[in-house]
Symmetry: C2
Subunit: 196 residues, 2 copies
């Protein structure tokens, strides 16, 4: 998605060979117009799928998800993150390990919001090792709902999450895929292809 | 706001005389169309104020804020919540005590996103004791930015947060104000006035 790639180029801050900071438009400060365009793009890619609900993860997944939900006219559910959960009777839960933060979180969705008739689009802001998407997929499967696909704002193509999810058979649609962050430069997949 | 009041009547679950659950459209599952209408309503009420940015609190403040930001064409910043903060050099921080959860959180916004030229609309999902709004206001003041007002989705009129904020001189605009949750019934301020 060109507008997103341009925004990342202008505002993304490379913190290391594997970490990109996008807190000026996605993760902390949010650009609502850009979120709307993302929502339109996700909706365009998935509109034939008969999706009934979007499942995302707090907090950075909410803005792109809500704009996609607006376009598809379906509800959004955000899974909650907790260090550890008690009283899980009414919850669907999964464990998600964050390599960046080196900590494990329990994520949860109330059982009452998902059932076997649901066909779910999972949305998240970043795809790196795929842990968050796998956790969300696990929750959807616990509800016996089906998964239409996984929409990602920024995929780190140099980490293995995307390959892992695609090998599992999921349709993964990323709005921008980063090929490399080396030498202080952001190279996108499309550019890498052209620059063999 | 009529659509919101109708939705609360239909979907709100009274857990006690002081606790209302609205997790089917605001706090866990989110209704994007309703969020858009809220955004339009907040934008209508504050459009003459010359607001430069919206400041809210993760996670439930994000959806109504992003829709308001879309209408006003301004960025949204969500303050992050943490049990306790370390490395606060580049952060504006405040302490927020939650009476519901009986726990204290540090909330923070990166310094670089707020400055003395900003005129801020604070948005939050609930107003009860006013602790979250006061914490957000403190952060805005630390940046020497000014506060245009406080937009609240649901105000619990029977708790003292609204009165406290208004006494401090803040313009508080609530889309729905609950007068009472007693006897298993949700009475809104407007209805209470009519029913003396």
């Amino acid at each position: 998605m060109d507008l997103l790639i341009e925004t990342i180029k202008q505002e993304g801050i490379i913190l290391s060979d594997s970490v990109l900071k996008v807190d000026s438009f996605l993760n902390h400060q949010i650009d609502p117009q850009l979120m709307l365009e993302m929502g339109k793009e996700f909706a365009k890619r998935f509109k034939e799928e008969g999706i009934t609900k979007i499942v995302t993860l707090e907090s950075s997944g909410i803005a792109p998800s809500i704009m996609t939900g607006l376009q598809l006219d379906i509800p959004v559910i955000f899974a909650r993150k907790k260090k550890s959960l008690t009283l899980v009777n009414e919850l669907l839960t999964a464990k998600v390990y964050s390599f960046t933060k080196q900590e494990s979180n329990d994520i949860s969705v109330a059982k009452k919001f998902l059932n076997e008739n649901d066909h779910i689009l999972i949305i998240d802001d970043f795809l790196a090792n795929g842990q968050a998407a796998l956790g969300l997929a696990e929750i959807v499967k616990q509800a016996n709902a089906s998964i239409a696909g996984i929409g990602i704002v920024i995929e780190k193509g140099f980490q293995n999450g995307g390959a892992k999810l695609r090998e599992l058979g999921y349709r993964v649609e990323s709005l921008a895929t980063i090929h490399s962050l080396k030498n202080g430069e952001i190279i996108f997949k499309e550019e890498a292809r052209g620059a063999i």
